[in-house]
Amino acid sequence: MKAYLRPVLLGAAVLAMALTGCSATPSTPETTGPTTSTTTTATSSATSTDLGTVVQVRLADGKVTPNGEKMDLKVGDVLTLVINSDHDDEVHVHGIDVEIEVTAGQEVTRTVTLDQAGSFEVESHEPQKVILVLNVR
């Protein structure tokens, strides 16, 4: 590299970090918050390796928990959804296209294998809300 370009590149790199850092700031707390909580839920409630990552899903009062959180997974990973709802609903796992019928007051457990890469939503239909976003690499 030519010597005179060095300060330019260094300055540019610093500016790049400053810029990206600045613009990323507002969303950082939200990103780290849910991700950590998902991980803790997952590890604490994972009972057996056959169930893979276990996520407790609650549909109540028109709200969903988790509320659109992102989860990082690998191709071939197993995901178990334990769903409780106060109304009849349907939970749809996009991508692998699994529909889970949910009856009010009855816990439903469903284990799925994520066999393709991509970003997929898990959503409720009544009302239509995003519960999880599965980032499968």
Binding site: V8, A12, A24, N67, A117, S119, V130
Partner: protein, 432 residues
């Protein structure tokens, strides 16, 4: 809530954060190196290229009729097909037409306006009525430019990103009906110039085609350096508005996938339509205001005779490559996957077991998305490549507009805004 919900149940993975940093760094370095070490005088003042000869008129008409038949098939699916996601009309509108027009126009130039089925129909009507298709009953006022198309593109973005039940036939019929009425009836009343002014698809395609290597010349097709094509393009009034709407709608599509937005909207008691409409409007306002300010900031340094109010329009071509990069990065995999599905389903447009093209039994090949790294790399190259071409175009435009002693200072505001668009595009693909 999510783009094309229902047809595209798969999205691209978030861009790895290292890719965001690399992309931002490259964009910045190239921008400032070009600013300080770029050529000092215009390099592409004239629209010259290699003549490739004319496309024979019968060949053009064969393509016009084929495109018209293709649209007729889609119309059949829209009018008489089943209200299910296997109806190919959804993929036809949201993938083949909306996304497909970008690579088509970026490579082949302004072919959309030559093959636009609305123009073919209007030509037919004019021939029957023994009128010149250019002439309307009422003259189209000057200065209309592409403003009506910018409004139409906003309406399309609303349909794509906000409109409830957009992948159901009644909703799509309403929008297609509006499009036909506004564009076709308008063309009969105001002449064919109305189509260029108001058809959102044609205006989008024409804008994208400004930097294509193939351009129409005085005697046939011209093979031209894309930078030269872009530098010598004379954008119509409203181009800045149109570019802002397109850039903002793509950005909002990504923004609506961030955890913050999903959680905020889902916790709110307000309906999604209000959030979506507001978010889309705010995004358009952000892009339009930043771009207008960056253009107007050039005013103190411009040559004599450059009208200040024309600066956003004159600088708009520089954002076109960024726009193409955004569109490719966001939607190329959608075009490839949903495009295949649509072509398969078009073989049986009414769900009656037909197999018009022999494709009905084929499956969708998804191997392109099996490995995330090549897709992420493609996205990075599209965004950064669009930025690099964009700043070269901005540099060349600036040299034409700025006083020779102010070419560096005068370029800084636009350069910073373009770097922000690129970094924002990368961050949105990272999708926090």
């Amino acid at each position: 809530m999510v783009p094309l919900h229902g047809i595209a149940s798969r999205h691209d993975l978030p861009l790895p954060f290292e890719f965001v940093l690399i992309g931002a760094a490259v964009a910045l370095v190239v921008s400032f190196v070009l600013l300080f070490f770029g050529w000092p005088a215009r390099r592409f003042p004239e629209r010259t290229g290699r003549r490739l000869g004319r496309v024979p008129t019968p060949v053009v008409w064969v393509f016009r009729v084929l495109v018209l038949l293709f649209y007729a098939l889609a119309t059949l699916a829209l009018v008489a097909g089943e209200d299910r996601l296997t109806n190919p009309i959804f993929g036809f509108v949201f993938a083949l037409v909306w996304v497909g027009l970008v690579p088509l126009s970026a490579i082949l130039g302004p072919v959309w306006r030559e093959l636009n089925p609305v123009r073919t129909i209007q030509r037919g009507l004019a021939a029957v009525l023994r009128r010149d298709p250019e002439d309307g009953i009422i003259p189209l006022p000057r200065g209309v430019g592409v403003w009506p198309a910018a409004v139409g593109l906003f309406a399309f973005a609303f349909l794509e990103l906000v409109q409830p039940a957009r992948t159901t036939l009644p909703v799509l019929r309403l929008y297609v009906g509006l499009w036909v009425v506004v564009v076709l009836i308008g063309a009969v009343l105001l002449g064919s110039r109305w189509i260029a002014a108001a058809d959102p698809f044609e205006a989008y395609a024409t804008t994208v085609s400004a930097g294509a290597p193939l351009q129409p010349g005085r005697d046939g097709v011209l093979l031209i350096n894309p930078l030269r094509a872009l530098a010598t393009w004379r954008p119509p009034a409203g181009t800045a508005g149109l570019v802002a709407v397109l850039l903002a709608s793509t950005a909002f599509d990504s923004f609506a996938n961030t955890s913050w937005w999903i959680a905020t909207v889902q916790n709110s008691t307000l309906p999604y339509e209000i959030w979506g409409t507001g978010g889309l409007l705010v995004m358009v306002a952000i892009v339009a205001v930043t771009f207008a300010l960056a253009s107007l900031a050039m005013a103190p340094f411009t040559r004599k005779g450059v009208p200040v109010k024309d600066l956003p329009r004159l600088m708009a071509p520089s954002v076109v490559p960024i726009l193409i990069g955004y569109a490719i990065a966001h939607y190329l995999t959608l075009l490839i996957i949903e495009g295949q599905r649509t072509l398969i389903n078009l073989s049986d447009p009414l769900g009656l077991g037909w197999n018009l093209f022999g494709t009905a039994e084929l499956g969708v090949n998804t191997s392109i998305v099996a490995n995330p790294t090549p897709v992420a790399l493609m996205q990075l190259i599209a965004i950064v490549g669009g930025h690099v071409i964009g700043i070269i175009a901005a540099h060349e435009r600036s040299l034409a507009l700025l006083r020779t002693d102010r070419t560096v200072r005068g370029q800084v505001p636009m350069l910073l805004v373009m770097v922000c668009y690129t970094c924002a595009g990368l961050l949105l693909l990272f999708s926090p």
